[in-house]
């Protein structure tokens, strides 16, 4: 069993296989399930992701609070105008990441990757890349195993909980996971996946969890948007041969330690950051009738 990214990369290199293969085999070993069963289980998760993206970019999704919904769809319409500055693939990923989180905020059905609040980044990037890289269904499933391998390391060595480690632990982890999986899908090496993860997470370090009114909406939906774009850029950088000066495992450790020193007000308590801005408080008051902290 791999305990960190260095071991994961070493295993894949020595076996001359993909990161996803190491994760699949470990899952088979730990659970005693067959390859077919493990694939079928992940296939089900992929289907849920696909349905959430589809729903988010075609239906008029609106959350109960009214704070979020419809932005994924707006961006799709904008892409169609042909005027996008950052590129169609980039915006498609951003749109699909937001779509997933909008469905999540509306209490729709999603697959946590690694959490619900950060569920948009991995599927958003995958379904955007689908058009360019034309992966098979199995390759799409492998994408989820590759991202899961990195998430597995983060969850066991640091945290994937916003209440414990801030948004860096959620969207930060998801962004790194997506970056690493993109590299694999695009034909990069296991160590390039690790570099992509490190580059992506480094740029999410310190990100606090400050949801307005305690809802997984503002700023969560747009943080997934930026996570998706960050992941694609980090993957491109790694595929170009750029390496992180700080090794991947040390970046994960830094994220963990930053989380430990983060005040409670900035860890999913809706007490600080954007939640505590005048507008954040106003929205909170409007949604709940009275501000939560004055009850």
């Amino acid at each position: 069993m791999f305990r960190n990214v260095a071991e994961l990369v070493e295993l894949a290199d020595s076996r001359k296989c993909k990161i996803s293969e190491i994760m699949i085999e470990q899952e088979m070993e730990v659970t005693g399930r067959s390859r077919e069963e493990v694939f079928a289980f992940m296939d089900r998760n992929l289907t849920v992701m696909e349905e959430a993206v589809e729903r988010g970019i075609t239906e008029d999704v609106k959350s109960h609070s009214g704070l979020t919904g419809g932005d994924g769809k707006l961006l799709q319409a904008y892409i169609k105008t042909g005027k996008s500055l950052s590129g169609d693939l980039m915006l498609d990923a951003v749109s699909k990441a937001m779509a997933t989180n909008e469905v999540n905020a509306a209490m729709g059905t999603i697959c946590a990757t690694p959490t619900a609040g950060s569920a948009g980044v991995v599927p958003g990037t995958l379904f955007a890349l689908k058009g360019k890289l034309n992966p098979t269904r199995d390759q799409m499933i492998e994408y989820l195993f590759a991202s899961g391998a990195f998430g597995f390391v983060v969850a066991n060595n640091a945290s994937i909980s916003g209440a414990a480690g801030g948004c860096q632990a959620e969207v930060g982890s998801a962004t790194g996971m997506a970056a690493a999986a993109i590299v694999e899908l695009a034909g990069g090496t296991p160590s390039q996946s690790a570099e992509a993860f490190a580059i992506a997470l480094k740029n999410m370090l310190g990100l606090v969890c400050d949801p307005v009114a305690g809802l997984v909406e503002v700023p969560c939906v747009k943080r997934n948007a930026m996570g998706a774009s960050n992941a694609i850029v980090a993957a491109d950088m790694a595929l170009a041969g750029i390496v992180s000066r700080i090794p991947c495992d040390e970046v994960i450790d830094a994220m963990y330690k930053i989380g430990l020193t983060m005040p409670s007000a900035l860890r999913e308590t809706a007490q600080g950051g954007l939640a505590a801005t005048p507008t954040g408080r106003e929205l909170e008051a409007k949604i709940f009738g009275i501000p939560l902290n004055k009850k």
């Binding site: 992940m42 690694p114 619900a116 939560l292």
Partner: protein
Amino acid sequence: MKYKSVFDIIGPIMIGPSSSHTAGAARIGRVARHLFGRKPDFAKISFYGSFAKTYKGHGTDVAIVGGILDYDTFDTRIVEALTIAKQEGIKVTMTEEDAVTDHPNTARVIIGDSEGQIELVGISIGGGKIEITELNGFELRLSGNHPALLIVHNDKYGAIAGVANILAKHEINIGHMEVSRKEKGKEALMVIEIDQNVDDVITDELSTLPIVQKVVKIHD
């Protein structure tokens, strides 16, 4: 390692909006329901830390009640759980506690009826994964890493041997085990972490032991 499966990371499939505050809460509620073993008449839920501050926004309230109604994380009825609980005659009360707990996402759940009640403390550690830290006043160290059996039994000789014999017969390996009691000769609790999920046949057989009051399994 707290997380052992890739599906702890890519998963669960769930109703939004939060894996820790919605899916985790549903799972805590469901463990309580399974431990109680039947539909309760009342549920008293106390939220601590981040749960207390944000439970309304995250749907933690509907999710935990959904769990008490025996709904899984992806059951869309969770959204309507408070209404359904009311229709089914379950009196639900919720309180926000100020006390600082070890983990930011902590809930205390008491469910019961005129026949009895159970009380547990659950924490939601991220990505939908939970741990139970207290049951009926017994402190637990249920890691949540493995499937587990919780067995409430009489504090009397032969209890451990009886349970272990049945598990051995079915070739179930015990990975970790703890026995605790409140008072000598009274109610005691066995927490057994095992390597695989067990069938109802085994839990039914364990329930037939005269010394055993209740058997609950917690699956992965």
